[in-house]
């Protein structure tokens, strides 16, 4: 007989769900596991390695067996613990790791091979030939073993992250947690009480009756009435970080058939607390005996939950194997409901028992059956043979209790073994108190009193003295001697259910020199997988301790790390997915660019206009070629607002700039701009840009778009750490000023119509930089005579809110000169033609000399950032890759950035590598592809023929090295 629901049932409205496509009925308030058990569905999954039939073992988060996939398609969620899933109407569950079905699984043939599949089997067997491991063995093994499969579809549901702050975080809403919350709540502390279950009560939910002085309903009602107490159910506290920060996952809507689209499915909480009480309870330990993994073998406490809370009987003939009182409590509950307990088997019987069932002083040697138990053999204490055999349909086991102390051990502190409690206990630490059964107590009232008293102590410490909500004696009974495993098993006795690790595997690991707990874990895979050994770790430690004749204290535990239970990537990423992965920055000229037809390109956080297609242009190249030609022939306007703008002021601004740039800045006159190179400490170029002196002690620095933030950070670091004695004040004005480049031979003609001052070459020569008045005094802006294209050019900065109006005006005036808007693609072509560098060249490997700027580096300044390291031998070697221009010998040939340079006739090997192309484009001016490259000793090789080789694209072209200034051979700007 399988598990079944006792009638009359008083357990909620009927709910319909499916398991492997079969329609079943459950009750409101059931977990999926409960509903499956109520339907007699005990076989729910197949094990990882041997594909053994497995059933529901627990009623909580530690469940290793009943892992199912919920939902389908993009909504499918594999490896979900059926014991934690709340049933809802229409829920769709599927079994995993089986084919063709969970009832008939071909993979179970692995079980026949079991004698060969012990610990270390893979490592020993699949050694040869070596190349087969990655290509053949591992993929095959991975296919045969495993759990649920992830789908590759984007998850359409919403997730989010949020913060909460409190005085006291209480983890666990069982008797200890509730009593602690009530005490602290009455004291007026800001309390968060979190519990992963959907019902308050913890292990009280397993009980037939509540203790006399503890009315769960009343306690809950009072807690709910307190505005300073926040109760967070369905919330698993999964991580303990530094400084009292905890991570928790709330299953906001996972239990709902029709989730509200305005709310997330799950929510990740970061909870900041002054003090924490772990009232996390204790985990009941399985007993390691032959056949302990058959569906129908269940933890005694779980059987009590299903029976007392959900009216589900484990079977009609239940054998109870217990080491301590838990099994007796189950026996009493079962007999009270008229169910038959075949026998209670107890290796150290000391619990008083007045029920009908016969108590046997002994152990269960084995449980046999196919997909459910049919018989159990019992060995009495002192006997080496089976003494009794029982016909059974279900078995409940209890090996004792292990406090759940995970969150207390995530900071590198190790659990401490206690002989008194026969368990690993939480290490002591500031700011964290362990209460109730997590602290080794067993009775409900002891836990309650412990929680209340410890909470009252914390309240007093935080200045809110109060008497505990419950008081009395918390003395507890001594734990029975632990039973780690039944010796001489007559079949497979599982320690780790999820990973199919047996007691034999652990003993083998010990024999083969992998007895250290961390090694044994990796050798056998005990404690791995999604349950991380919640049920198996302590038994494994006990077995290894016994094998080595040591105390579990000496063996120690493996390392505890976040997270306590698995959590979804969705919860970790929250709302920051897809296009919301990062913030978006928009230029003040974004709308202007859009109305002028711009195509945009992502550039860091920015969206920059990349080209402006006109009617009849079908490819981007047509637009870009036209834009480049227009700029060279008349004029163009380009949004350069995304470049970083930093205002540097203060009495020592000049000295400061002189130290951060490698070239001189101290004597830059007011009203002038200068190109500057900023080095890193290691001598490589950090960034370049122009800096202009607007007044005696005010400068405005421009940085590249990509390094606006890093340069600001660098400057702040220099000001605050290197030279705290300098009076220098730094402000980003990138967002205050919109900036546009107006380039081309007609740029002055256009600008002189809106700039009030004289901007003739005499009045406003190359590298002038001044505040200007615009539109006859209507607006103030800043004008710079700088060029990135080789043409006569200006950059005009105006307050961002007026940018669109000013750009419109320039377009309107410029129409007479055939002005065009141009984007970053044309900008790039113009600068490559002019031989100007960007971060394609300033790639972190180049010094000023590498880019032909050797003469800029000051030889007289006492110091500047990067000066010392710039003298390193390797940085002054002649053979360094240095900037050159490159073009194909046959102008119709094409190459692209990233291609490598080889000497003529040299084989394509790493040793023969001469450098690489950093930038390339089609030059409408030269009617061929051109590029910039970093080539060994490049400046001395102009005119040399080379091979341009791109292995990734399988492209090859004969090129010639040349000056990087494609327009003016002497390299001077065409100003």
């Amino acid at each position: 007989m399988s598990s079944f629901r006792l009638e009359p049932s008083t357990t909620g409205a009927e709910i319909s769900f499916t398991f492997d496509g079969k329609r079943l009925k459950g009750r409101a308030g059931d977990t999926l596991a409960a509903a499956l058990l109520a339907n007699g569905r005990q076989l729910v999954g197949r094990s990882f390695k041997y594909h053994r039939p497995r059933g529901v073992l627990t009623a909580g988060p530690a469940e290793p067996n009943a892992l199912v996939t919920i939902g389908s398609g993009a909504f499918a969620e594999p490896n979900t613990r059926a014991t934690m899933v709340e049933l809802y109407d229409g829920l769709e569950a599927r079994s995993q790791n089986c084919w063709p079905s969970v009832d008939f699984d071909i993979g179970s043939i692995n079980g026949l091979l079991a004698p060969f599949l012990g610990a270390g089997f893979y490592y020993k067997t699949f050694m040869w030939p070596k190349a087969f491991w990655e290509r053949v063995y591992e993929p095959l093994i991975r296919r045969a073993a495993g759990l649920g499969r992830a789908n590759h579809l984007p998850d359409p549901r919403r997730y989010e992250k949020t913060w909460a702050h409190c005085d006291l975080l209480i983890v666990g809403a069982g008797p200890a947690g509730l009593a602690a919350a009530l005490t602290a709540g009455r004291a007026g502390l800001k309390v968060i009480l979190a519990d992963e279950r959907f019902e308050r009560g913890g292990t009280m939910l397993n009980e037939r009756e509540e203790p006399e002085d503890f009315d769960l309903g009343e306690v809950a009602a009072e807690l709910l009435s307190l505005s300073n107490v926040r109760i967070m159910m369905r919330t698993t506290v999964v991580a303990h970080y530094d400084d009292g920060v905890f991570g928790a996952v709330e299953r906001v809507q996972k239990h709902l058939a029709q989730p509200d689209p305005n709310r997330p499915l799950e929510r990740l909480w970061r909870i900041v607390t002054r003090h924490t009480i772990l009232a996390t309870g204790a985990e009941e330990r399985p007993i390691v005996f032959a056949g302990n993994d058959l569906p129908g073998v269940m933890m005694a406490g779980a059987a009590r939950y299903y029976l007392n809370r959900r009216s589900i009987a484990p079977g009609k003939q239940t054998l109870i194997f217990t080491n301590g009182s838990s099994g007796y409590a189950l026996a009493a509950d079962m007999e009270a409901r008229g169910l038959t307990v075949a026998a209670i088997v107890d290796p150290s019987p000391s619990t008083p028992w007045a029920g009908k069932a016969h108590v046997i002083d002994g152990v269960v040697a084995s449980v046999s059956g196919g997909r459910r138990p049919t018989s159990a053999s019992v060995r009495q204490t002192g006997s080496s043979e089976t003494t009794d055999t029982f016909a059974v349909d279900s078995v409940a086991m209890s090996g004792g209790w292990s406090p759940i102390i995970h969150l207390a051990c995530q900071h590198g502190l190790k659990p401490v073994w206690s002989d008194e409690f026969a368990a690993f206990m939480a290490p002591e630490q500031g700011g964290l108190t362990v209460a109730g059964s997590a602290a080794g107590l067993s009775s409900t009232s002891a836990c309650m009193i412990d929680g209340a008293q410890k909470s009252a102590r914390i309240c007093a410490d935080l200045g809110r003295a109060i008497s505990p909500a419950f008081s009395g004696d918390t003395e507890t009974s001594k734990a029975p001697r632990p039973l780690w495993h039944v010796a001489n098993p007559t079949g497979k006795a599982f320690v780790d259910f999820q990973n199919d690790v047996t007691a034999q595997d652990l003993l083998l690991a010990e024999q083969e020199g992998y007895g250290h707990i961390e090694l044994a874990k990796r050798y056998t895979t005990n404690g791995m997988a999604t349950d991380q050994g919640k049920l198996s770790n302590v038994n494994a430690i006990g077995i290894l301790a016994e094998a080595r004749g040591l105390s579990p204290d000496t063996i120690g535990t493996t390392t505890y790390r976040p997270f306590y239970t698995p959590l979804s990537f969705g919860a970790l990423s929250g709302t920051h997915v897809g296009p919301h992965f990062a913030a978006v920055r928009r230029s003040p000229l974004h709308e202007w660019a859009r109305k002028n037809g711009a195509e945009f390109v992502e550039s860091g956080l920015w969206y920059r206009s990349s080209w402006f297609p006109r009617k009849g242009e079908t490819t981007w190249r047509q637009s870009v070629d036209r834009e480049v030609a227009t700029v060279r022939a008349s004029a163009g306007i380009c949004d350069v607002s995304t470049l970083g703008k930093i205002e540097v002021s203060g009495r020592d601004a000049a000295e400061f700039l002189n130290r951060v740039y490698c070239n001189p800045f101290a004597k830059l006159p007011v009203g002038k701009a200068r190109y500057g190179l900023m080095l890193r400490e290691d001598g490589m170029i950090l960034d370049d840009g122009t800096t202009s002196r607007l007044t005696d002690d005010t400068y405005v620095m421009t940085t590249t778009t990509a390094l606006a933030g890093p340069v600001m950070t660098h400057l702040e670091f220099c000001a605050q750490v290197h030279w705290p004695d300098l009076d220098v004040r730094l402000a980003s004005v990138s967002d205050q000023w919109a900036q546009m480049a107006i380039a081309g031979p007609r740029s002055r003609d256009i600008l002189s119509e809106i700039v009030d001052a004289d901007i003739s070459n005499e009045a406003f020569p190359y590298l002038s930089a001044r505040d200007v008045s615009l539109f006859q005094g209507a607006l103030k802006g800043r004008l710079f005579r700088i060029s990135f294209s080789g043409e006569l050019a200006f950059e005009l900065a105006v307050p961002a809110g007026f940018a669109e109006s000013v750009a419109d005006a320039i377009m309107q005036i410029g129409a007479r000169y055939d002005i065009c808007a141009y984007g970053v693609e044309a900008l790039n072509v113009l600068r490559i033609e002019a031989g100007h560098v960007t971060h394609a060249e300033i790639n972190g490997t180049v010094t000023p000399a590498d880019l032909g700027f050797a003469k800029m580096v000051s030889a007289v300044k006492p110091d500047f950032i990067g000066k010392a390291m710039l003298r390193r031998e390797g940085l002054v070697s002649q053979n360094r890759p240095q900037l050159v221009g490159i073009k194909p010998v046959d102008p119709s040939h094409v190459f692209r950035s990233g291609a490598h340079i080889l000497n003529k006739g040299a084989a394509a090997t790493l040793e023969n590598d001469q450098g690489y192309v950093t930038s390339s484009c089609y030059s409408p001016h030269l009617k061929t592809t051109i590029g910039l490259a970093l080539v060994a000793d490049g400046p001395n090789r102009h005119g040399e023929e080379v091979q341009i080789w791109n292995a990734l694209k399988d492209e090859y072209c004969v090129g010639v090295l040349c000056s990087p200034a494609f327009l003016t051979p002497d390299g001077r700007l065409n100003a």
Partner: protein, 186 residues
């Protein structure tokens, strides 16, 4: 010279407005008129610079908000004229004042659920006893750094760099979906 109309364009001119998420909306999100923003900076070794700053603005109706050590934002209503020259006469060279009125965009969120909503973006404790009315924090709100000021028990003003304004606006709407957001221009 042709005539040109100089039109001031708000950073949030094209931001989404209307009702989002749950109804009725429990949160109001407003793109405030762009106000006067002065960035004030003092040398880090300057003593009592904050007092100097307050003295300089003694007669001007502004709100002075701390951004970081030795840095403040001085906020004035859009119609308030700030006479920078006379203020500089008081603050002298000890304090640098930069007009950043175009560099920042102000917005406001209000309503009974405003703490729960902002908690999705910032790790700062939003409870009123930890964050009283009038206090400002420069903090991340989601992806974006903003200067957040509690102006009333259930009202916060956020001042954000102009280029990030649209992005923060969208993120605030997402944060508020479960409470319902009425987003509008103010």
């Amino acid at each position: 010279m042709p005539e040109f109309a100089l039109i001031h364009r708000k950073a949030l001119a094209t931001a989404r407005t209307g009702q989002f998420g749950a109804t009725p909306a429990a949160v109001e999100l407003i793109a405030l008129p762009e106000c006067g923003v002065l960035q004030a900076m003092a040398a880090h070794f300057a003593a009592d610079s904050e007092a100097t700053l307050h003295a300089a603005f003694k007669d001007t109706p502004v709100s002075i908000r701390r951004v970081s050590p030795y840095q403040w934002l001085v906020i004035s209503e859009p119609n308030v004229q700030v006479d920078l020259d006379s203020i500089r006469n008081v603050s002298g060279t000890r304090i640098t004042l930069l007009d950043q009125s175009h560099g920042y965009a102000p917005m406001q969120i209000s309503g009974p659920k405003v703490e729960n909503m902002l908690a999705k973006g910032t790790g700062v404790d939003l409870s009123i006893n930890q964050w009283p009315v009038g206090q400002s924090h420069q903090t991340l709100v989601g992806h974006t750094s903003a200067l957040v000021t509690r102006t009333e028990p259930t009202k916060f003003e956020l001042i954000v760099m102009r280029s990030f304004a649209g992005s923060l606006w969208d993120e605030l709407i997402t944060m508020g979906l479960e409470f319902g957001v009425n987003a509008r221009n103010g």
